[in-house]
Structure formats: C-alpha cells, structure tokens
C-alpha cells in the first residue's frame, strides 16, 4: 500500500463530495422535501457506529451513554426512512385519482 491512511480517507471523502453533489444536482423542486428527509435518514447510519462502540465497552457509564446514542440514532434512521416513504406514497397514490378522489370527497374532507 503506497497510500497513507489519512490520504485514503481524504480521497474517499473528496470523491464522495463530488458524488453527493452531482447525484442530486438535477433534482426538481417538487422533490426537495422528500429528498431532504431521505438524506436526513441516511445520516442515521451513525446507528452503526453507536452499536459498535456500545457493544465493545465495559464501562457502565459508557454503556448508558451508548444506549442513549442508539435510541437517538434509531429514531433518526428508522423514523427518517418511514416518513420519507409516507410522503412519497402520497405522491404516487394520487396518480390514479378520480375514483378515489370522489370517495374521499364523500368521506368529507374536514
């Protein structure tokens, strides 16, 4: 391996920056809200880090702190993906429309 560890990480970081920007640069404004919320869920991957540090500690305080981190990270990750899906479901649900619409109308939209 000719690369220093630091340079490896820097390289992966720099390339990821480009990917991150380029990949979403064509997004339409319609999707801004779900995109933000989906990206939000992705950084919930800190859960993985929380599990790793919590599961390898022997200190009780550290364990408690770690468990709190796991709870918080799970909220971020799972909640984020679920709420994004819920929004996107609404987007796709309304396509067939018409019949459902009238049904919904009868239910009475308050």
């Amino acid at each position: 391996m000719t690369l220093d560890t630091g340079v490896v990480w820097l390289t992966i970081f720099v390339l990821s920056v480009f990917v991150g920007i380029e990949v979403i640069s064509k997004v339409s404004s319609t999707l801004h809200t779900p995109l933000m919320s989906g990206a939000n869920a992705i950084h919930g991957i800190i859960l993985l880090g929380a599990i790793l540090v919590t599961g390898t500690t022997d200190n009780n305080i550290a364990l408690v702190v770690g468990l709190i981190a796991i709870v918080l990270a799970s909220v971020n990750m799972i909640g984020g993906f679920v709420v994004t899906d819920r929004m996107l479901q609404m987007f796709s649900r309304r396509k067939p429309a018409k019949k459902q619409e009238q049904a919904a109308q009868k239910d009475g939209a308050a």
């Binding site: 404004s29 919320s37 950084h43 919930g44 929380a50 599961g55 990270a73 939209a109």
Partner: protein
C-alpha cells in the same frame, strides 16, 4: 476493535453504493420511492453486521436490541402520526437526534482512546473534537428549530443585548477546547466541548426568524452529515464516512439552491439578526385603501370564471385549508372551469412543501403546475385565487431593485384579469415588504383565516 473482516468491508462498500443510488433515486419523481427503500435496506443491513462479526464479541446484545427497538418505535410513531404541515419540524427533530447520537459516539470513542493511553494521531483527535462540537450544535440547533416551528416558543427572532459577544465567546471556547483535546485528550474537555457546542447551537438558531428556519434546518442537516462523516473517520468506518459525506455535500448544495431560490444568502440568514438586520417581516401594517369583498362576492367571481389559477402559499399550510381548497376546486371543475394550482418552489414552510401538502389532500398531479409551466397562463386566467401566499406573487421582486426579494422569480398573478387574496390582515409576508398587488384595482381581498373563509367561499359557490 479487532481487524474488520473483508466481507464486512465489502458489505459496507455495497451499502455505500446503495446510499448513492438512494440519493440518485430520490432526485427523480419516478424513482424516488424505490430510492428511499434501497437506502433503508442498506442502512438496516449495515446495522446488522456487528451481530455477525464474531471476532468483535459484541456485548450487551439484549440491551442494544432493546435500545434499537425503543428508538425505532419512537421514530415510526413520529413518522406515522406527524401532520404533513409539521414536516419541517419532524425533519429537524430527526436531524437533531442524529447529530446528538454522533456527538455521543465521539465522546465514547474519546473515552476509549483515553483508556488506551491517549495515544491517537492528532488528526483523529481533531476529527473527534469536530464530531463532538458540530454534533452538539446540530442537536441543540435542531431542537430550538423544532420548538420554534411547533410553536413551543415564539417564532420571532430572539435577540438580546450582548448576543454577538456571548456567541463569539462560545465560538472561541470551542476552538480552545478542541486544541486542548488534540494536545492532551481528557474526558472533561470533551464533555465541556459538547456543552459549549449545545450553547452555540442554541445561540445560532435563536435569532433566526420563523420563515428562515427551513434554510437553517437544511444547513443543520448538512452539518449532521459532516459530523457523521467525521465520526466515520474516528471509528475507521468507511460506510459512515461515505454516507455522512454524501449527505453533507448534497445537503450543502441543496441549502444553497434553496437560498438562491429565495433570493437570499445563507450567511445573511444566519447572521443577519446578529448584525441587527431583522430577518422576519417588519410587520408594518399598511393603511392604504384596498377593495375588500365578502365570500359571496368572491364566489360569484369564481363561479362564473372559465379559467382559474390557485396560488397556494405559506398561510394555506398554517391554516390547513388545503382539503377545503381541494373541495372548492372540484366544485369549480364541475361547474366547467379549468382550474390549476401554480406551485412556487419556495411556497410553504420548506422547499417543495406545497407539493407534499397538496399530495396529501389528494390533489391530482395534473392540476399541479410548476412556476415555469404556468407563468404564461396567468394572462388568460379570469381569476387568480391567492390563498395565504404573498411574497411569491409580489411584483416588487421584478420592479423594486432595493427589495429583499428583488430577483426572486415570482408567479405572474398580476397578469390575471381578477385577483382574489385570502389573508387575515394587511400584514406583509415573510419578506416584510408591502405588496403593491394588494392595492391593484383588479384585486379583491377576502379577509379571515384561510380555513374559515375557504369553507364560507365553498358554501357560497355551492349555493350559486
């Protein structure tokens, strides 16, 4: 931690690729839902790996699983029950807890380093300090944001004398503590750093006005991404690095995109209040004469129009009048009018928010028209019905070079034959400037809470 087995490294790389595909998917209407699902599966798979990494001898498995269950239950509950109008605060909350988790993980890793004699490379310690500080900022900032939007506290900018000084001092403290930590890793320094980070987060968001909050949410989202990336470096975990960086980079880009769509600069939003410039509408209520109408008059204008364009805005979301509005549009459609919704990219409380709200109200997709598509149609419209929107139709954006919204593309409601404004008062919109269109002779104002007037209007149209 023992050396990571190659298969786990490869799984993480694959999950990283899935995150890229997820973001790519999320940026196209047809692929969005699948993209989100791909991301979710990758995240879940990645979180399962520690349980199958035998050399790791994972302890406390029951507790960990319980914690995951609690967190997931909370997340799912929140995600399922949140109102679509409350989406900005939900995103803020989820984002904040993620940042908090990252800060805690970094503190634990610091503890580990100290327990092993404190001999980590300086760059590692710097990344640890970064994660603790920025994670805390993100946590506290998001919580305040949440409180503002959820109206647990005032949504007006909170500024007190000396705020800039306290803020500056806190920033200096962060830097000093980080340098300390790098030179000589100590647990107390990490904990204090986290607490000062919380303070910075609070002070950063307090002076921001309610309408600017979405930009701040997006920015904090990017911050958390970078925090997670730094955490990945600290833990030598490539998936955290890739996932966090993707969110950090795309989030920053998205923030700039949004700020540009609003014709504002991010620094101005963040530090405008500190510098004394108010970022919330001045609230100067004009006393110039306007033409006010009753719901019955408005119903006649609408009921006999052939072409109606609805301009929904922030106030519609606040009043939650979208369902009633949809009913009104259906009734008008039955009476033979062609009705469309004109969606401005920054209408609502966060970018793209109107689309979500109207999707929830089951407005058919074909009736939603983006700004560029519909702007040419206003001149043929009999009525433009502006519901709880203001700045997005303010001609000052085109005509008044000094105005804060100057240069922001707007919807050409002023070209319609008649304009009906539904709002509660003569207060200006978020930008705090008068809207000349309110005084136009083609304009009629229908005062009152949007939900309220909307039902009256609906009934009046039905009675025609």
């Amino acid at each position: 931690m023992p050396a990571m087995p190659t298969w786990i490294q490869l799984v993480y790389l694959a999950c990283g690729v899935c995150f890229i595909l997820a973001l790519k998917g999320l940026s196209g209407p047809k692929t969005a839902r699948n993209g989100n699902i791909v991301g979710a599966i990758a995240a879940v798979v990645a979180c399962l790996t520690p349980f199958f990494w035998t050399d790791l001898h994972l302890h406390h498995i029951p507790l960990i699983v319980a914690a995951i269950a609690v967190g997931s239950a909370g997340g799912v509950y929140g995600a399922r029950t949140v109102q679509m109008t409350q989406m900005p605060q939900m995103v803020a909350l989820f984002n904040g807890v993620g940042g908090g988790a990252a800060a805690l993980v970094a503190l634990l890793e610091l503890h580990e380093v100290i327990a092993n004699g404190g001999n980590a490379p300086w760059f590692n310690l710097a990344a640890t300090a970064f994660t603790i500080a920025v994670g805390s900022v993100s946590f506290a900032g998001s919580i305040i944001t949440f409180a503002k939007l959820q109206e647990l506290m005032t949504s007006r900018p909170v500024v007190f004398r000396g705020l800039p000084i306290v803020f500056g001092a806190a920033l200096v403290a962060v830097v000093v503590l980080a340098v300390l930590l790098v030179n000589d890793p100590q647990m107390w320094a990490g904990i204090v750093l986290g607490m000062v980070g919380l303070l910075v987060g609070v002070l950063l968001v307090l002076p921001v006005g309610g309408a600017d909050v979405p930009i701040v949410i997006s920015l904090l989202n990017a911050f958390t991404g970078l925090t997670v990336a730094a955490g990945g470096y600290v833990l030598s975990n490539v998936l955290l690095l890739i996932g966090g960086t993707l969110v950090g980079a795309s989030g920053t880009f998205l923030t700039l995109l949004m700020a540009r769509a609003m014709g504002r600069s991010v620094t101005n939003i963040l530090f405008g209040a500190l510098r004394g410039a108010s970022t919330l509408g001045g609230g100067e209520i004009s006393t110039r004469p306007v033409k006010s109408v009753t719901p019955e008059d408005a119903a006649i204008m609408l009921g006999y129009a052939d072409r109606v364009i609805i301009v929904p805005g922030y106030g519609l979301a606040v009043a939650q009048a979208q369902h009633t509005l949809r009913e009104l549009v259906d009734v008008l459609g039955e009476r033979g009018a062609k009705v469309d919704y004109a969606i401005h990219p920054v209408a609502g409380r966060m970018p793209g928010h109107m689309n979500v709200l109207l999707a929830e109200a089951q407005v058919p997709y074909e009736q939603l028209r983006e700004m560029d598509q519909i702007n040419g149609d206003f001149k043929d419209a009999d009525v433009a019905l502006v519901v709880g929107a203001n700045d997005v139709v303010n001609p000052a954006a085109k005509t008044t070079p000094g105005a804060p919204i100057y240069g922001m593309p707007i919807l050409n409601a002023d070209e319609a034959r008649q304009i009906i404004f539904m709002k509660r008062s003569m207060r200006p919109g978020f930008a705090g400037i008068e809207n000349e269109l309110l005084f136009d002779e083609k304009t009629s104002l229908l005062f009152g809470d949007a939900k309220d007037s909307m039902s009256k209007l609906l009934n009046a149209v039905k009675a025609l």
